[in-house]
Amino acid sequence: MALVDRLGEALGRNQGGIILTSVDALVGWSRGQSLWAMPMGTACCAMELIAASFNKFDFDRFGTFPRPDPRHTDVMVVAGTITKKMAPAVERLYEQMPDPKWVVAMGNCAVSGGIFYYDTYSVVRGVDEFLPVDVYIAGCPPRPESLQDGILRLRELVHTESLAPGVRHERKLVLPFEPDRAASPASYDDDVKPGPGEGA
């Protein structure tokens, strides 16, 4: 990682030549291709999070794989209500994750406190009170497709991140074998087709 850090410093000093910027974009692209998820599931959203990684929705096809260990993961998916007692534990788990790391707030509770926003003494009103959230997913709970869409949005974000701190690429690297999602947005109807006998 020292080499990557030095590359980031070099890119930060000057904008880099054609080789350095290409390497930079390639690193960002490859980071986005395998966002391993830390399933920070505390409530009913965790059911959708679990469903998203099983065979019907198959999170693995996006390179996302749940690992219940913060030291192995890139993105923390906060799925569920975070109480004031739980918040220090979540923050500690986040600190144990290696850089670079991202946070997805899944569901209304993680976004804003959800139904616990009013008249509640014990719930944190959104994990962005103590974590830097990259992607917000609304829903109570969101469908697994929503979570997968959120991870794909996060992937687009990661693709544009430079090794130099605070720098973003204007265009992301599009490899020849990879369809540009922004150019041809996928229809939600195509995501999950009903299985045999499941009806419409």
């Binding site: 004031k84 007692k85 926003y117 009013y118 008249d119 509640t120 003494y121 014990s122």
Partner: protein
């Protein structure tokens, strides 16, 4: 076991508990004074109420009503055991020595109502952080961080 049979069974075996028995909302209830809670619970346990299903409390203003739900598989019956403790001195004996299940349940009641269970082996907060101030399920609980729900929602 039907409620009449339960009442007869209690009156036969423990005549001192008989006048305390009543039927509230279709459930057998024993209302005792706090000092006699432990002896009444012991008597019920010897009758066959071997399971403590639930401990909770009700804030009635002047008093807190402690509610214990006792269940029995041998009698196929369940009964409420209730005791009123004064609000200015909310103390009552622990039942941990009779039912180990009372341990966490009484901690929860202590956590949310501030009722002190004398003789409890480890009486500290269980759900809220240790440095929490106040007892949230009391009717007069105030917390400046709570946002009141607007009427129009």
């Amino acid at each position: 076991m039907k409620l009449d049979e339960l009442r007869a069974h209690i009156c036969d075996t423990h005549p001192d508990l008989c006048p305390l028995f009543s039927i509230e909302y279709g459930d057998g209830t024993l209302q005792v004074v706090p000092e006699e809670l432990h002896s009444a619970a012991e008597a019920l346990k010897s009758l066959g109420f071997d399971r403590l299903g639930m401990v909770t409390a009700v804030d009635k203003g002047e008093v807190f009503t402690l509610v214990y739900r006792l269940q029995s598989r041998s009698l196929e019956a369940a009964i409420f055991l209730k005791a009123d403790v004064p609000r200015n001195r909310p103390e009552i004996g622990s039942l941990c020595d009779l039912w180990p299940a009372a341990d966490w349940q009484e901690r929860e009641v202590y956590d949310l109502f501030g009722i002190v269970f004398e003789g409890h082996p480890d009486l500290r907060r269980i759900m809220l952080p240790d440095d929490w101030e106040g007892y949230p399920l009391r009717k007069d609980y105030q917390n400046a961080q709570v946002i009141k729900r607007p009427d129009y929602i």
